[in-house]
Amino acid sequence: MTRFALPLLAGLLAGTALAGPAFAAKDLVVGMPDNITTLDPADINDTLSQSASRTMLQGLFGFDKDMKLVPLLAESFTVNDTATEYTYRLRKNVVFHDGTPFNAQAVKTSFDRLADPANRLKRQSLLAMLAETVVVDDYTITLKLSQPFGALNNNLAHPGAMIHSPKALETYGKDIGRHPVGTGPYKFVSWEADTLKVEKNDKYWKQGLPKIDHVTLKSVPENGSRIAMLQTNEAQFIYPLPPEMVKMVEGNQALEIIDAPSIIARYVAMNTMKKPFNDPRVRQALNYAIDKNAYAKVVYRGYAGPLDSAIPSKLGFHVTQPSQYTYDLAKAKALLAEAGYPNGFEAEMFGRNSTNFIRGMQFVQQQLSQIGVKLTVTPLEAGVETARVWGVEKPEDATVQMQYGGWSASTGDADWGLRPLLWGKGFPPKFFNVAYYKNDTVDAAIETGIATADTAKRAEAYRVAQEQIWKDAPWIFLGVENLLAGKSKKLTGFYYVADGGLQMEEADLQ
């Protein structure tokens, strides 16, 4: 017995010394629901890969944790009255991870690459209006636009417009998505199928940041496994947390839940070119027939808020509409009768085939059955949806009657919340106006809003647009879901932003 005790004790002491907190590197592991598609933000269509690339790259502007526009690599800007010429003063003494200095030439290289349609980048639309980039001096650059565009700074804050090192672009060419080099708080280490590793950028231009030595982003698609990782401290942050699983995290003292409003609008678009949806009274009736509080409760376990205008309240220029479509079956029936459908009608609703979408569609189906509207729910796989809904060439060929969907406007601005979805010139396949909604007042307002950088004028234009859309009701306005994530209480300065992205520049582990 005694023979064993001594070495055992020694071993224990040695172990304690090695594990001493003073020597530990700060390693953060984040559990995510999907694989990263690429690390070239100019070619990224999904929020998750954007979050990953945002650890390493930065743009002239960015968003803070409240989705407010903040300058990053730009210090200040001026714009002409017609919103066609923007001049930016750039931040000095910033270097890329590979040592290349950040300057106006680097910005020009990245922007010209993004704007050139020949490069076929998924985010080309962000700078589609760019006519010319002029390097004025090392730290001043002018962007000349082919048409007025008032929300340019918001577009530049979109992850798609982040700046690559010009040297890396030259070295790796089309392979830049596997070798990202930026000015961000973390440097690229490795990226395999489901795991991205980044490390601290010692030369980061913000004093005292970052505080974490290594960050690992790991894809764990199964909800239960992701929660298990958090519970065993294998991960310090996991997202998303399915609403029905919140209870499993709530009981744990070491963990906390992030529950914040998002900018993800949930709605059912109705094809306004097809009977019976061509009658606004029918569309209004369907809005009155749905209990929005029950929607939040049933589909999101209460973790959702109302969609009280065509855009969520966290987007710029949002205006809460004064007369809400409050749940009123009598009124809904009266409106339907007035429109000539006293006994309701039959219709088909499309939507994606994920659990949450199917739940939402079933809910809408149940609610509308109360006013005699019989819905057939058809869940579609992503590829089929693209073919049947988004790829249709002519409006008259569209088979879609109702489409259950969602939209997250990652520029944080009303323009990107309205123009792709409700602009008369944005029918598929160009944009996503699957309601085939066209209204001259709305079209004019959307075009005015984008043609000026004058905040007062833009606010007025979007107020008019939202008011008209609300009255015409091309959508059933369902709600705005909350962002739910689980995190260790030791983790601070780590933000889950309203567009569903992650920010970890200020992250620290206690």
Partner: protein, 294 residues
């Protein structure tokens, strides 16, 4: 002379039992199979009477009582939409039982016919039918069913066809085996000798001989069919929401398994018990029908 002899024997043993009575005598002694049969009978009655005995409308939602556990009002609780799970299971029994019966009947009829022809005719017809069956048998059942539904499109009707199609080869092979043995039986030779035509020979003289094994297999197969149909609905290829199909109910409740396990437990229990009952019944039938087992 032979005739008088036979009558004499029959007169001497008046307690000679008809095949049906003999079967019943043996089957009755098998307690497990009797219990299983009784369960299935009850389930069938419940399924037929669902509109009258179900406490709630299976589609009626109540958003104030979502995901409630078992209570006096809702004996086995409510689901994510506040629908009564017991009512849904009862209505779902109609779907599951009819899918099981219909698909096996369809597949059985086709399989028996093919097996009979293959076994009786022999030659190239036999080879052709059996090789096709071998190809179909080479696929695992569920995989074949998924493939067929992928071609026909999702929906409960297509699930019936899919399950029927993958039942055909097993029945065909089974019946072909018995047919091969029976067609050499003396009574068949005798029938042929007095000029009975082939078609009649197959239907009247050989088919009845194959039936005991077919009946046993039907009861076993219904269990498999119900399970396959539920699996297809679970992965979204079968019954579409809001249909109360058991597999679809399982899929619906899957995401709540950590917080409200009753939503998946009871439909799962219904599937488990029904399939078990069909298999036990099949075992009992085999024991009672197989002349080699005493």
């Amino acid at each position: 002379m032979t005739t008088t002899d036979a009558t004499g024997v029959a007169a001497a043993h008046e307690d000679v039992r008809s095949p049906l009575r003999e079967f019943w005598r043996k089957f009755r002694r098998n307690r497990t199979a009797m219990a299983a049969g009784l369960c299935l009978l009850l389930l069938a009655v419940a399924a037929v009477a669902a509109p009258w005995i179900a406490p709630y409308d299976p589609a009626a939602f109540d958003y104030d009582r979502i995901l409630e556990g078992p209570s006096v009002d809702h004996w086995v609780g409510t689901d994510a939409y506040g629908r009564d799970i017991l009512s849904r299971i009862l209505w779902g029994a109609r779907i599951s039982l009819s899918v099981g019966l219909l698909s096996v009947l369809l597949g059985g009829v086709a399989g028996v016919a093919l097996g009979l022809v293959a076994g009786f005719r022999g030659g190239w017809i036999d080879s052709l039918i059996m090789r096709i069956c071998d190809v179909l048998l080479a696929f695992p059942g569920i995989l074949l069913a998924i493939g067929i539904v992928a071609i026909l499109g999702p929906g409960i009707d297509n699930v019936i066809y899919a399950v029927a199609i993958f039942s055909v080869p097993v029945f065909a092979r089974l019946v072909r085996g018995s047919t091969l043995a029976l067609k050499r039986a003396v009574y068949v030779d005798a029938a042929r000798a007095i000029g009975v035509r082939d078609r009649l020979l197959m239907v009247r003289h050989i088919l009845p001989g194959t039936l005991p094994s077919v009946i046993v297999y039907v009861s076993m197969r219904i269990g498999t069919s119900i399970l396959t149909a539920a699996s297809l609905s679970f992965i979204g290829l079968g019954a579409q929401p809001p249909s109360p199909e058991w597999g679809a109910m399982l899929a619906d409740g899957r995401s709540y398994i950590g917080v409200a396990s009753h939503v998946t437990f009871y439909p799962g229990l219904a599937i488990f018990l029904t399939v078990l009952a069909f298999n036990l019944l099949g075992d009992g039938l085999r024991d009672a029908l197989d002349p080699k087992l005493r």
